[in-house]
Protein backbone atom coordinates (compact mmCIF):
# COMPACT_ATOMS: atom_id res chain seq x y z
CA UNK A 1 0.00 0.00 0.00
CA UNK A 2 2.77 2.44 0.98
CA UNK A 3 4.61 1.68 -2.25
CA UNK A 4 1.43 2.30 -4.23
CA UNK A 5 0.89 5.64 -2.48
CA UNK A 6 4.47 6.74 -3.18
CA UNK A 7 4.15 5.65 -6.79
CA UNK A 8 0.90 7.61 -7.10
CA UNK A 9 2.58 10.69 -5.65
CA UNK A 10 5.60 10.37 -7.96
CA UNK A 11 3.61 10.03 -11.17
CA UNK A 12 1.20 12.78 -10.15
CA UNK A 13 4.19 15.07 -9.61
CA UNK A 14 5.61 14.30 -13.08
CA UNK A 15 2.16 14.79 -14.59
CA UNK A 16 1.75 18.16 -12.83
CA UNK A 17 5.13 19.41 -14.03
CA UNK A 18 4.34 18.50 -17.64
CA UNK A 19 0.79 19.81 -17.69
CA UNK A 20 1.78 23.02 -15.93
CA UNK A 21 4.50 23.56 -18.55
CA UNK A 22 1.68 24.11 -21.08
CA UNK A 23 0.55 27.19 -19.15
CA UNK A 24 4.05 28.73 -18.71
CA UNK A 25 4.47 29.03 -14.95
CA UNK A 26 7.48 30.92 -13.53
CA UNK A 27 10.43 28.51 -13.19
CA UNK A 28 10.52 28.72 -9.39
CA UNK A 29 6.91 27.48 -9.23
CA UNK A 30 7.57 24.06 -10.84
CA UNK A 31 8.83 22.45 -7.65
CA UNK A 32 5.85 23.62 -5.63
CA UNK A 33 3.39 22.56 -8.34
CA UNK A 34 4.89 19.09 -8.25
CA UNK A 35 4.86 18.97 -4.45
CA UNK A 36 1.22 20.07 -4.18
CA UNK A 37 0.14 17.68 -6.93
CA UNK A 38 1.92 14.77 -5.25
CA UNK A 39 0.27 15.53 -1.91
CA UNK A 40 -3.16 16.11 -3.46
CA UNK A 41 -3.29 13.13 -5.77
CA UNK A 42 -1.86 10.63 -3.30
CA UNK A 43 -4.20 11.91 -0.60
CA UNK A 44 -7.14 11.36 -2.92
CA UNK A 45 -5.78 7.91 -3.72
CA UNK A 46 -5.64 7.06 -0.01
CA UNK A 47 -9.13 8.43 0.67
CA UNK A 48 -10.56 6.36 -2.17
CA UNK A 49 -8.57 3.13 -1.91
CA UNK A 50 -7.49 2.66 1.70
CA UNK A 51 -9.36 -0.13 3.47
CA UNK A 52 -11.91 1.33 5.87
CA UNK A 53 -12.08 4.72 4.11
CA UNK A 54 -13.15 4.03 0.50
CA UNK A 55 -14.75 7.43 -0.15
CA UNK A 56 -16.51 8.38 -3.36
CA UNK A 57 -14.30 10.14 -5.94
CA UNK A 58 -16.22 13.42 -5.59
CA UNK A 59 -15.85 13.70 -1.81
CA UNK A 60 -12.23 12.54 -1.93
CA UNK A 61 -11.42 15.16 -4.60
CA UNK A 62 -13.00 17.96 -2.57
CA UNK A 63 -11.07 17.07 0.59
CA UNK A 64 -7.78 16.62 -1.28
CA UNK A 65 -8.26 19.92 -3.12
CA UNK A 66 -9.04 21.73 0.13
CA UNK A 67 -5.89 20.42 1.80
CA UNK A 68 -3.60 21.46 -1.05
CA UNK A 69 -5.48 24.77 -1.23
CA UNK A 70 -4.46 25.47 2.37
CA UNK A 71 -0.89 24.37 1.62
CA UNK A 72 -0.76 26.57 -1.49
CA UNK A 73 -1.93 29.65 0.40
CA UNK A 74 0.77 29.27 3.03
CA UNK A 75 3.47 28.41 0.49
CA UNK A 76 2.63 31.21 -1.96
CA UNK A 77 4.29 34.07 0.00
CA UNK A 78 7.40 31.90 0.15
CA UNK A 79 7.43 31.32 -3.61
CA UNK A 80 6.23 34.90 -4.22
CA UNK A 81 3.58 33.90 -6.74
CA UNK A 82 -0.21 34.19 -6.61
CA UNK A 83 -1.69 31.10 -4.96
CA UNK A 84 -3.33 30.00 -8.24
CA UNK A 85 0.06 29.81 -9.98
CA UNK A 86 1.07 26.79 -7.91
CA UNK A 87 -2.40 25.53 -7.09
CA UNK A 88 -4.16 25.32 -10.45
CA UNK A 89 -1.42 23.34 -12.25
CA UNK A 90 -1.29 21.06 -9.21
CA UNK A 91 -5.01 20.36 -9.60
CA UNK A 92 -4.61 19.34 -13.27
CA UNK A 93 -3.81 15.65 -12.60
CA UNK A 94 -7.10 15.43 -10.69
CA UNK A 95 -9.18 16.90 -13.56
CA UNK A 96 -11.64 14.18 -14.60
CA UNK A 97 -10.71 14.18 -18.29
CA UNK A 98 -11.84 10.62 -18.96
CA UNK A 99 -15.30 11.32 -17.54
CA UNK A 100 -15.47 14.46 -19.69
CA UNK A 101 -14.93 12.80 -23.04
CA UNK A 102 -16.86 9.66 -22.12
CA UNK A 103 -19.90 11.83 -21.48
CA UNK A 104 -19.52 13.31 -24.99
CA UNK A 105 -19.11 9.79 -26.37
CA UNK A 106 -22.28 8.68 -24.56
CA UNK A 107 -24.17 11.67 -25.96
CA UNK A 108 -23.10 10.86 -29.51
CA UNK A 109 -23.96 7.17 -29.11
CA UNK A 110 -27.38 7.93 -27.58
CA UNK A 111 -28.25 10.13 -30.55
CA UNK A 112 -27.21 7.38 -32.95
CA UNK A 113 -28.83 4.62 -30.87
CA UNK A 114 -31.67 2.54 -32.29
CA UNK A 115 -34.34 1.36 -29.86
CA UNK A 116 -35.23 2.40 -26.31
CA UNK A 117 -32.97 0.03 -24.43
CA UNK A 118 -29.80 0.98 -26.26
CA UNK A 119 -30.72 4.69 -26.03
CA UNK A 120 -31.25 4.40 -22.28
CA UNK A 121 -27.91 2.68 -21.86
CA UNK A 122 -25.95 5.36 -23.73
CA UNK A 123 -27.96 8.18 -22.17
CA UNK A 124 -27.14 6.71 -18.78
CA UNK A 125 -23.44 6.72 -19.70
CA UNK A 126 -23.74 10.35 -20.86
CA UNK A 127 -25.53 11.48 -17.69
CA UNK A 128 -23.41 9.44 -15.29
CA UNK A 129 -20.06 10.55 -16.72
CA UNK A 130 -21.20 14.13 -17.27
CA UNK A 131 -22.57 14.60 -13.76
CA UNK A 132 -19.58 12.94 -12.11
CA UNK A 133 -17.20 15.13 -14.12
CA UNK A 134 -19.15 18.31 -13.36
CA UNK A 135 -19.37 17.69 -9.63
CA UNK A 136 -15.73 16.68 -9.31
CA UNK A 137 -14.78 19.93 -11.03
CA UNK A 138 -17.11 22.14 -8.98
CA UNK A 139 -16.08 20.37 -5.77
CA UNK A 140 -12.37 20.58 -6.53
CA UNK A 141 -12.42 24.26 -7.37
CA UNK A 142 -14.64 25.09 -4.40
CA UNK A 143 -12.40 23.07 -2.10
CA UNK A 144 -9.26 24.68 -3.47
CA UNK A 145 -10.65 28.23 -3.55
CA UNK A 146 -12.12 28.31 -0.04
CA UNK A 147 -8.62 28.59 1.53
CA UNK A 148 -7.73 31.45 -0.87
CA UNK A 149 -10.93 33.16 0.23
CA UNK A 150 -10.49 32.40 3.95
CA UNK A 151 -6.91 33.64 4.07
CA UNK A 152 -7.41 36.61 1.71
CA UNK A 153 -4.73 38.64 3.45
CA UNK A 154 -2.10 36.05 2.64
CA UNK A 155 -3.22 34.86 -0.77
CA UNK A 156 -3.64 38.22 -2.50
CA UNK A 157 -0.48 39.67 -0.95
CA UNK A 158 1.83 36.85 -1.93
CA UNK A 159 3.52 38.77 -4.74
CA UNK A 160 4.13 41.85 -2.60
Amino acid sequence: MLLQILQDALFAAIAAIGFSAISNPPKRAYFYCALLAAVGHSLRFVLMQAPGIGWHIIVASVVAAFIIGVLAVFLSPKVKTPAETCLFPALLPMIPGIYAYKSFGGLAMSILAIGEESFNHYFYLFAYNGLTCLFILIGMVTGATIPIFLFKNISFRATR
Partner: protein, 260 residues
Protein backbone atom coordinates in the same frame (compact mmCIF):
# COMPACT_ATOMS: atom_id res chain seq x y z
CA UNK B 1 10.61 64.76 -14.39
CA UNK B 2 10.51 62.81 -11.13
CA UNK B 3 8.07 60.08 -11.96
CA UNK B 4 7.09 59.20 -8.37
CA UNK B 5 5.73 62.69 -7.65
CA UNK B 6 4.08 63.10 -11.05
CA UNK B 7 0.33 63.57 -10.74
CA UNK B 8 -1.36 61.21 -13.20
CA UNK B 9 -4.56 62.24 -14.96
CA UNK B 10 -7.56 59.91 -15.02
CA UNK B 11 -7.17 59.54 -18.78
CA UNK B 12 -3.54 58.40 -18.65
CA UNK B 13 -4.23 56.02 -15.80
CA UNK B 14 -7.35 54.58 -17.39
CA UNK B 15 -5.60 53.88 -20.69
CA UNK B 16 -2.78 52.13 -18.87
CA UNK B 17 -4.99 50.10 -16.52
CA UNK B 18 -7.24 49.10 -19.38
CA UNK B 19 -4.32 47.64 -21.33
CA UNK B 20 -3.05 45.99 -18.16
CA UNK B 21 -6.48 44.43 -17.60
CA UNK B 22 -6.89 42.96 -21.07
CA UNK B 23 -3.41 41.43 -20.95
CA UNK B 24 -3.92 39.99 -17.47
CA UNK B 25 -7.26 38.49 -18.46
CA UNK B 26 -5.80 37.20 -21.74
CA UNK B 27 -2.99 35.33 -20.01
CA UNK B 28 -5.52 33.42 -17.91
CA UNK B 29 -6.00 35.32 -14.64
CA UNK B 30 -9.23 34.97 -12.67
CA UNK B 31 -11.64 37.91 -12.50
CA UNK B 32 -11.14 38.41 -8.77
CA UNK B 33 -7.38 38.84 -9.24
CA UNK B 34 -7.92 41.29 -12.08
CA UNK B 35 -10.25 43.45 -9.96
CA UNK B 36 -7.91 43.46 -6.99
CA UNK B 37 -4.77 44.27 -8.99
CA UNK B 38 -6.38 47.08 -10.95
CA UNK B 39 -8.00 48.67 -7.89
CA UNK B 40 -4.74 48.44 -5.94
CA UNK B 41 -2.86 50.37 -8.62
CA UNK B 42 -5.59 52.99 -9.06
CA UNK B 43 -5.58 53.70 -5.31
CA UNK B 44 -1.80 54.09 -5.38
CA UNK B 45 -2.24 57.03 -7.78
CA UNK B 46 -5.01 58.57 -5.67
CA UNK B 47 -7.77 57.53 -8.07
CA UNK B 48 -10.70 55.16 -7.92
CA UNK B 49 -11.78 52.68 -10.54
CA UNK B 50 -14.93 50.77 -11.45
CA UNK B 51 -14.81 48.01 -14.03
CA UNK B 52 -17.09 45.61 -15.84
CA UNK B 53 -15.44 42.40 -16.99
CA UNK B 54 -17.12 40.84 -19.98
CA UNK B 55 -15.95 37.67 -21.76
CA UNK B 56 -14.37 39.60 -24.63
CA UNK B 57 -14.10 43.16 -23.33
CA UNK B 58 -13.09 45.09 -20.25
CA UNK B 59 -14.99 48.33 -19.61
CA UNK B 60 -13.36 50.63 -17.11
CA UNK B 61 -13.93 54.08 -15.59
CA UNK B 62 -11.21 55.85 -13.62
CA UNK B 63 -12.09 58.93 -11.57
CA UNK B 64 -10.58 61.27 -8.99
CA UNK B 65 -11.78 61.26 -5.40
CA UNK B 66 -14.26 64.09 -6.01
CA UNK B 67 -15.49 62.62 -9.33
CA UNK B 68 -14.73 65.91 -11.13
CA UNK B 69 -12.63 64.30 -13.81
CA UNK B 70 -13.43 60.89 -15.19
CA UNK B 71 -12.28 58.76 -18.06
CA UNK B 72 -13.88 55.64 -19.48
CA UNK B 73 -12.49 53.14 -21.96
CA UNK B 74 -13.35 49.76 -23.42
CA UNK B 75 -10.68 47.36 -24.62
CA UNK B 76 -10.86 43.97 -26.28
CA UNK B 77 -9.48 41.05 -24.32
CA UNK B 78 -6.42 39.55 -25.97
CA UNK B 79 -6.55 35.86 -26.60
CA UNK B 80 -2.95 34.89 -26.05
CA UNK B 81 -1.69 31.61 -24.65
CA UNK B 82 -2.26 31.06 -20.94
CA UNK B 83 0.84 32.15 -19.03
CA UNK B 84 1.13 31.99 -15.26
CA UNK B 85 4.54 33.61 -15.60
CA UNK B 86 3.06 36.81 -17.05
CA UNK B 87 0.19 36.57 -14.55
CA UNK B 88 2.67 36.42 -11.65
CA UNK B 89 4.84 39.25 -12.95
CA UNK B 90 1.86 41.52 -13.63
CA UNK B 91 0.65 40.86 -10.07
CA UNK B 92 4.12 41.72 -8.74
CA UNK B 93 4.00 44.93 -10.77
CA UNK B 94 0.71 45.91 -9.13
CA UNK B 95 2.27 45.56 -5.67
CA UNK B 96 5.36 47.53 -6.67
CA UNK B 97 3.06 50.34 -7.73
CA UNK B 98 0.89 50.01 -4.61
CA UNK B 99 3.92 50.15 -2.31
CA UNK B 100 5.13 53.29 -4.15
CA UNK B 101 8.34 51.59 -5.20
CA UNK B 102 7.90 52.72 -8.79
CA UNK B 103 6.14 55.64 -10.43
CA UNK B 104 3.72 55.79 -13.32
CA UNK B 105 6.22 55.94 -16.19
CA UNK B 106 8.38 53.21 -14.78
CA UNK B 107 5.31 51.02 -14.29
CA UNK B 108 4.36 51.55 -17.94
CA UNK B 109 7.87 50.63 -19.06
CA UNK B 110 7.91 47.55 -16.83
CA UNK B 111 4.52 46.51 -18.20
CA UNK B 112 5.69 46.70 -21.81
CA UNK B 113 8.76 44.60 -21.04
CA UNK B 114 6.65 41.96 -19.22
CA UNK B 115 4.14 41.54 -22.04
CA UNK B 116 6.84 41.28 -24.68
CA UNK B 117 8.78 38.58 -22.81
CA UNK B 118 8.96 35.24 -24.53
CA UNK B 119 7.56 32.00 -23.18
CA UNK B 120 9.65 28.95 -22.26
CA UNK B 121 11.51 26.68 -24.67
CA UNK B 122 8.91 24.78 -26.69
CA UNK B 123 11.06 21.65 -27.05
CA UNK B 124 11.35 21.35 -23.28
CA UNK B 125 7.59 21.84 -22.96
CA UNK B 126 7.01 19.14 -25.60
CA UNK B 127 9.19 16.67 -23.72
CA UNK B 128 7.65 17.48 -20.31
CA UNK B 129 4.11 17.14 -21.64
CA UNK B 130 4.90 13.73 -23.15
CA UNK B 131 6.41 12.50 -19.89
CA UNK B 132 3.46 13.92 -18.00
CA UNK B 133 0.86 12.16 -20.09
CA UNK B 134 2.79 8.89 -19.88
CA UNK B 135 2.79 9.15 -16.07
CA UNK B 136 -0.87 9.99 -16.25
CA UNK B 137 -1.41 6.68 -18.04
CA UNK B 138 0.33 5.01 -15.10
CA UNK B 139 -2.00 6.76 -12.63
CA UNK B 140 -4.94 5.20 -14.45
CA UNK B 141 -3.38 1.76 -14.13
CA UNK B 142 -1.66 1.41 -17.50
CA UNK B 143 1.39 -0.89 -17.82
CA UNK B 144 4.82 0.09 -19.18
CA UNK B 145 3.91 -0.68 -22.80
CA UNK B 146 0.83 1.53 -22.54
CA UNK B 147 2.92 4.29 -20.95
CA UNK B 148 5.42 4.15 -23.80
CA UNK B 149 2.73 4.33 -26.46
CA UNK B 150 0.95 7.18 -24.67
CA UNK B 151 4.27 9.03 -24.48
CA UNK B 152 4.79 8.64 -28.24
CA UNK B 153 1.17 9.54 -29.03
CA UNK B 154 1.48 12.68 -26.90
CA UNK B 155 4.83 13.63 -28.43
CA UNK B 156 3.34 13.49 -31.91
CA UNK B 157 0.03 15.11 -30.94
CA UNK B 158 1.51 17.96 -28.93
CA UNK B 159 4.10 18.65 -31.65
CA UNK B 160 1.22 18.92 -34.13
CA UNK B 161 -0.59 21.26 -31.72
CA UNK B 162 2.42 23.56 -31.43
CA UNK B 163 2.90 23.63 -35.20
CA UNK B 164 -0.77 24.27 -36.01
CA UNK B 165 -1.14 27.01 -33.38
CA UNK B 166 2.05 28.70 -34.64
CA UNK B 167 0.55 28.76 -38.11
CA UNK B 168 -2.55 30.47 -36.73
CA UNK B 169 -5.00 27.56 -36.92
CA UNK B 170 -8.19 27.83 -34.88
CA UNK B 171 -7.83 26.24 -31.42
CA UNK B 172 -10.87 24.00 -31.94
CA UNK B 173 -9.67 22.66 -35.29
CA UNK B 174 -6.23 22.09 -33.76
CA UNK B 175 -7.64 20.13 -30.84
CA UNK B 176 -9.68 17.96 -33.20
CA UNK B 177 -6.67 17.00 -35.35
CA UNK B 178 -4.40 16.44 -32.35
CA UNK B 179 -6.96 14.20 -30.64
CA UNK B 180 -7.36 12.25 -33.87
CA UNK B 181 -3.61 11.74 -34.32
CA UNK B 182 -2.97 10.84 -30.66
CA UNK B 183 -5.85 8.38 -30.46
CA UNK B 184 -4.78 6.62 -33.67
CA UNK B 185 -1.25 6.25 -32.29
CA UNK B 186 -2.58 5.33 -28.85
CA UNK B 187 -4.62 2.54 -30.44
CA UNK B 188 -1.46 0.75 -31.65
CA UNK B 189 -1.38 -1.31 -28.44
CA UNK B 190 -4.89 -2.59 -29.11
CA UNK B 191 -4.14 -3.20 -32.80
CA UNK B 192 -1.07 -5.40 -32.21
CA UNK B 193 -2.18 -6.77 -28.83
CA UNK B 194 0.80 -5.28 -26.96
CA UNK B 195 0.64 -5.17 -23.18
CA UNK B 196 -2.32 -5.90 -20.94
CA UNK B 197 -3.99 -2.49 -20.80
CA UNK B 198 -4.56 -1.28 -24.40
CA UNK B 199 -7.87 0.42 -23.50
CA UNK B 200 -6.15 2.67 -20.93
CA UNK B 201 -3.57 3.66 -23.56
CA UNK B 202 -6.27 4.98 -25.91
CA UNK B 203 -8.20 6.68 -23.12
CA UNK B 204 -5.23 8.59 -21.74
CA UNK B 205 -3.53 9.38 -25.06
CA UNK B 206 -5.67 12.51 -25.53
CA UNK B 207 -5.84 13.78 -21.95
CA UNK B 208 -3.13 16.43 -22.45
CA UNK B 209 -5.71 18.27 -24.60
CA UNK B 210 -8.29 18.65 -21.79
CA UNK B 211 -8.52 22.42 -21.13
CA UNK B 212 -7.94 22.15 -17.37
CA UNK B 213 -7.02 25.75 -16.56
CA UNK B 214 -10.09 27.26 -18.33
CA UNK B 215 -12.31 24.80 -16.39
CA UNK B 216 -10.69 25.78 -13.09
CA UNK B 217 -10.80 29.52 -13.88
CA UNK B 218 -14.43 29.20 -14.85
CA UNK B 219 -15.46 27.76 -11.49
CA UNK B 220 -13.26 30.21 -9.63
CA UNK B 221 -15.13 33.08 -11.35
CA UNK B 222 -18.41 31.41 -10.46
CA UNK B 223 -17.53 31.35 -6.77
CA UNK B 224 -16.87 35.11 -6.85
CA UNK B 225 -20.21 35.74 -8.67
CA UNK B 226 -18.67 36.64 -12.03
CA UNK B 227 -21.29 34.48 -13.68
CA UNK B 228 -21.02 35.83 -17.23
CA UNK B 229 -17.25 35.29 -17.41
CA UNK B 230 -17.64 31.95 -15.65
CA UNK B 231 -20.21 30.82 -18.18
CA UNK B 232 -18.21 31.95 -21.19
CA UNK B 233 -15.03 30.28 -19.94
CA UNK B 234 -17.00 27.12 -19.21
CA UNK B 235 -18.52 27.04 -22.68
CA UNK B 236 -15.08 27.66 -24.25
CA UNK B 237 -13.66 24.72 -22.31
CA UNK B 238 -16.69 22.57 -23.09
CA UNK B 239 -16.39 23.21 -26.83
CA UNK B 240 -12.70 22.27 -26.75
CA UNK B 241 -13.59 19.08 -24.86
CA UNK B 242 -16.25 18.40 -27.49
CA UNK B 243 -13.69 18.81 -30.32
CA UNK B 244 -11.37 16.49 -28.42
CA UNK B 245 -14.12 13.87 -28.12
CA UNK B 246 -15.04 14.08 -31.79
CA UNK B 247 -11.37 13.69 -32.76
CA UNK B 248 -11.06 10.73 -30.42
CA UNK B 249 -14.24 9.11 -31.77
CA UNK B 250 -13.01 9.51 -35.37
CA UNK B 251 -9.66 7.97 -34.39
CA UNK B 252 -11.38 5.04 -32.71
CA UNK B 253 -13.73 4.54 -35.66
CA UNK B 254 -10.75 4.44 -38.01
CA UNK B 255 -9.01 1.87 -35.84
CA UNK B 256 -12.29 -0.01 -35.38
CA UNK B 257 -12.39 0.27 -31.56
CA UNK B 258 -15.46 1.10 -29.46
CA UNK B 259 -15.36 3.70 -26.67
CA UNK B 260 -17.45 1.70 -24.20
Amino acid sequence: MDSTSYSVTSKELCLFLSRYAVFLLGCGATCIRLEKNVRRMAHAFGKDVELTIMPRHVHMTVYGKDKNEMFTSIDTVLHTAISFDINTRLSELSWEVADRKIGFFEAKERFESIISSRSGNRWVVLLLVSLANASFCRLFGGDWVAMLMVGIATLAGFYLKQQLLRRGFDARVTVFFCAFLSSVLGATCALYGWGTTPDIAIGTSVLYLVPGIPFLNSFSDMIYSHYICAFSRFVDALILTGCLSVGLCCGMLLMNIGMF
